[in-house]
Amino acid sequence: MSSSPDVRPDDVRPDVRPDDVRPGAARSGRWAVTGYALVQVLLFVPIVVTFVLVAVSSVLVVVWVGILLLAGLLPAMRGLAGLHRSMAGRILGTSLPAPYLPLTGGPLADLRTRAADPMTWRDLLWMLWAMTFGFVVSLLAVVLFLGVVTLPIWWYGVLPLLRGRATVDRAILTTGRTERLEQRVEALTASRAVVVDHSAAELRRIERDLHDGPQARLAAVSLSLGLADDLFETDPEAARRLINEARGTSSTALGELRDVVRGIHPPVLADRGLAGAVSALALDMVVPVELALDVPGRLPAPVESAVYFTVAECLANTAKHSGAANSWVSLQHDGAVLRGRIGDDGRGGADLRKGTGLPGIAARLAAFDGTLSVSSPPGGPTVVTWEVPCSPSASSSPRTMRS
């Protein structure tokens, strides 16, 4: 398994989909719009304060205090932007997605992700707009309403005014369709590269396993049988010994083939689907595993396989590294998304960036727009969670596979 360092599965933005903007929600009327304008006017002070503090903290980063301040301020800024994004969405009658990079890991890593996110810079730009012209527009709407004699102007003017502001808000606070598609293409290219890499490495591993194991042993079997054939008349005792030897070797070869096949596609997964195969995995574990499996029917075979190997990898890690006394697995499919959680009470310290196991399975899940995150502070507990969008498999009849 290999994944190049610049194509990490968590760079993939599964939340950015071209179909995220759903038209059809009703646009807000005069009263609601005026209400939103009032909220926007009231939020003027918090926006100004946040903007100034962010600007000051950015300078203070050089003396470390700024990092601490930004860790608190950036989420606040996102909160303000999020509020306006949803108001703009309601005014325009569409739902506006928040295209931030997904957060993974601890507070420092999150801060780094936030600072590197282009959306953060757009949020800052938006604050400049919201403090100036945006504020003036909202204030005007409120004043027109409160001015009584100006009510007729309010009646006709408030909707175009606020829709205008909302349009600008939307333009800054969300990415356009083209941009989203570009990001989507980027994400798909990245995850495809990882998957291709991964499967090529898998094929190499399988080739090596077959070559070093069963192939060599079968050659030895045929050699033993040939010798036995030769000695049959002259030294039946030696011939019998050779045949016995061949039998033992062929048994070992079969055992090795079984291991290889289990690594490709476990038979119990083909037979029983995800829930059955995970139960079988749990039975083989030394550490007791508590199961909560709610996966009715069968899922598409590639998803079943990817999730099965996710569980297998995590349980193997639990057995090998965690020193845990208990572990648990939960799988739940609600018809559109398969959610999985797996945890143990061991010593923690698992890292998505270390080793090849976890990054490999994260890459496999990313191929289905799945996400995986690991929480494993030193001292434990370790919890791995993942989500894979998938619908139930159309055909429940398993594929044709010879025994």
């Binding site: 048994s251 079969l254 079984r258 038979p267 119990v268 037979d271 039975l283 398993p398 596979m401 010879r402």
Partner: protein
């Protein structure tokens, strides 16, 4: 002694022919050698059939129809002896087979057939109402139960426990470990005392007690 009338289900033609030849040579009568689920079910309804040797994976879906057929025939004909063969052994399947009725059931890797005497012995034990489990299943279970009283057993006693769980009688255990039957009986008494199990002279009941204790 009348030869035992056996139904054989194996979809691979070479193995089916080989197994038929082996069984006939060892004094069994193969009443039907089938290669798919429909024919297997028909053959198992034959009231003169006395036991079945069944492959797990077969047409039409090539998954676990052999196993399901084995479990369903034991529901229709309680205690009908079935020996299930597979390229893979799964604890999950072992559990399901053991739950399908008291005794007269076996679950072995296909490669065990290469030891003809062992295989024939296993089939006879199953037909006789015994329980036969593949050594790899037993080994996995013993491995899992390391922190339990199994820990208090000596190395030799653990070997005897494993062979008992595989379904062997005293004579079979003595032969496998190259010791006397008397020595085996002594080990068994010691094991049962350490695991707090009631001693039982009946082989089949003893195997079941061990399997139940191991919670396979």
């Amino acid at each position: 002694m009348q030869p035992l009338r056996v139904v054989l289900a194996e979809d691979h033609a070479l193995l089916r022919a080989g197994l038929t030849q082996l069984l006939e040579a060892k004094g069994f009568t193969v009443v039907a050698a089938v290669d798919n689920l429909t024919e297997l079910e028909r053959a198992l309804d034959d009231p003169t059939a006395e036991a079945a040797v069944v492959d797990v994976r077969m047409p039409p879906t090539f998954t676990d129809e052999g196993l399901r057929a084995a479990i369903s025939v034991r529901a229709r004909r309680p205690g009908f002896p079935v020996l299930v063969l597979s390229q893979y052994v799964e604890q999950l399947y072992a559990r399901e087979l053991l739950a399908s009725g008291e005794g007269a059931v076996g679950y072995l890797l296909k490669d065990r057939v290469s030891d003809v005497a062992e295989f024939v012995d296993a089939l006879r034990r199953v037909a006789d109402g015994g329980t036969v489990l593949d050594p790899s299943v037993v080994a996995a279970v013993l491995d899992r139960r390391r922190d339990t009283p199994v820990d208090r057993l000596t190395e030799r006693e653990r070997e005897v426990l494993a062979l008992m769980a595989e379904g062997r009688a005293n004579a079979g255990i003595a032969q496998a470990l190259v010791v006397t039957e008397k020595a085996v009986a002594k080990h068994i008494n010691s094991i049962f005392a350490k695991l707090d199990l009631p001693t039982d002279t009946d082989d089949h009941r003893r195997v079941r007690a061990v399997l139940e204790w191991l919670r396979i």
